[in-house]
Symmetry: C2
């Protein structure tokens, strides 16, 4: 699927880490939300509220998932889940285009 139809898009961007991580929020007819975002190379730590599914559309990054001791590498066409109320760390190697789904 190359596009999302019949969605509401918030005009204002979500901006983190001086703009090195930014995203746009999409709201679907069923009330569910996704963000489409860009991460520039760098190291970041993020926390979740809801469970998240992170789909990597392009790019490459290493991820340390909650409770994990080993970093795992993700790139184009791969995905990972992060539990709710958890922290995870990212080392973004190249500009990364992602889609994050928030799962209730």
């Amino acid at each position: 699927m190359s596009e999302f139809s019949n969605v509401t898009v918030l005009k204002k961007a979500n901006i983190y880490s001086d703009g090195n991580v930014t995203s746009r929020t999409l709201v679907f007819p069923d009330g569910s939300k996704k963000t489409l975002g860009i991460m520039l190379p760098g190291e970041y730590e993020f926390g979740t509220a809801e469970k998240e599914l992170m789909e990597i559309q392009s790019g490459e990054l290493d991820v340390l998932l909650p409770g994990a001791t080993d970093w795992r590498t993700f790139s184009d066409g791969t995905a990972f889940e992060v539990p709710a109320n958890a922290k995870f760390s990212l080392k973004v190697r190249v500009v990364t285009d992602y889609c994050c789904s928030y799962i209730k």
Copy 2:
């Protein structure tokens, strides 16, 4: 208006200048298009195909419009137009969140 409703959003980002300028494409029910984008600090030159209306949602940048000799400063809540088939230069001072409308 804080959101756009009933739009189609392309999943893949538009990525320019090593990710320092990125945007998402929105298609409206009437077929018209807008992009919602982020520009990180830096100097850029862009060209238009269609006429563009650039609305600055947040940020600050200096713009040299086609044919102009003086740079003009734009920030939160301001906007400028660029004619079709023209080049314009930007000096982005702080992370800038914009909405670009393509006008036929």
